[in-house]
């Protein structure tokens, strides 16, 4: 093999992605898109629901009609619809990624809620809360450095035979 051939060999080996790498890349992008959807729907669902419930006022009642009344508020309804999307996107994410990856990564919702409150609603953030934001961000960064899924197939030993 001549020296001139070497760069193309290097390019093929190290630069050009193999089919597997391309598939892994696509898989990773889809999983991260789901992570983003889970975080955004969690944050906005809770913010809208909270805004709606504040407008509705305190409900301390055994009557279900008082809770139904809360649905008449558009912010409450919007919040609930977004939280339903959150539940199903979270389940879709759990079908593709480890629970021990999903938990810390989606905790960035806490950070986003605190920062949104600070910058848009001018909420005060104490130094303890800034420390909390820093700790959670550190946790998210560490978890992001691990693979999204480390298992193959379902954990069969957990599932009783009759449920399969």
């Amino acid at each position: 093999m001549s020296l001139q051939d070497r760069p193309s060999l290097v390019m093929q080996t190290f630069v050009r992605p193999t089919d597997n790498q391309t598939q892994n890349g696509r898989r990773g992008r889809k999983t991260h898109a789901l992570v983003l959807l889970v975080i955004v729907t969690n944050v906005f669902g809770n913010v809208f629901l909270s805004r709606g419930m504040h407008q509705v006022g305190r409900i301390v009642s055994a009557s279900p009609f008082d809770y139904v009344r809360a649905f008449a508020n558009p912010w409450t309804t919007l919040g609930i619809v977004i939280l339903v999307v959150w539940i199903f996107s979270d389940l879709a994410l759990l079908s593709r990624a480890d629970l021990s990856f999903v938990l810390p990564v989606t905790a960035s919702a806490y950070v986003l809620v605190a920062l949104l409150g600070h910058f848009f609603l001018h909420d005060h953030i104490s130094w303890e809360r800034w420390m909390g934001i820093l700790l959670i961000t550190g946790g998210v960064v560490l978890a992001e450095e691990t693979p999204t899924r480390t298992t193959t197939g379902p954990p069969e030993h957990l599932i009783p035979e009759r449920l399969l």
């Binding site: 079908s95 629970l99 909390g132 946790g139 954990p155």
Partner: protein
């Protein structure tokens, strides 16, 4: 009573998430985010006993949280959330068979501490 409720919240939260993860892994990966794929996933979920069990555990946790909030402040519920992060990571390793190494342990610990700090 308060601490019993905190225990119920932490345990049911953990159980719910572990059952949901096992159920969704059993059901198979969601390949894409097209509406039809997601609708098919939702239809399958309602025939998936593990995920239905997970929903039931999360519902118990939610109502225990409501009871806790009716007798104390929201900051009292924080330890339950923080403990759940560590408990779920433990079960993810030993029951779901996930490869949990120091980075994930450190991530779960940092998040748990951060959640406690945010409640101040």
């Amino acid at each position: 009573m308060k601490w019993i409720l905190v225990g119920i919240i932490a345990l049911c939260n953990t159980l719910g998430d572990v059952l949901n993860t096992a159920g969704m892994k059993r059901q198979g990966e969601v390949e894409d985010l097209r509406p039809w794929t997601l609708l098919r996933m939702i239809r399958k979920i309602f025939r998936n006993p593990l995920v239905l069990g997970g929903f039931a555990a999360l519902a118990v946790s939610f109502f225990a949280l409501l009871s806790l909030l009716s007798i104390t402040t929201v900051s009292f519920a924080v330890p339950a959330t923080a403990v759940s992060y560590l408990l779920e990571t433990l079960l993810a390793k030993y029951i779901l068979g996930e490869d949990v190494r120091w980075r994930r342990w450190a991530a779960a610990t940092l998040v748990a501490c951060g959640v406690v700090m945010l409640s101040f």
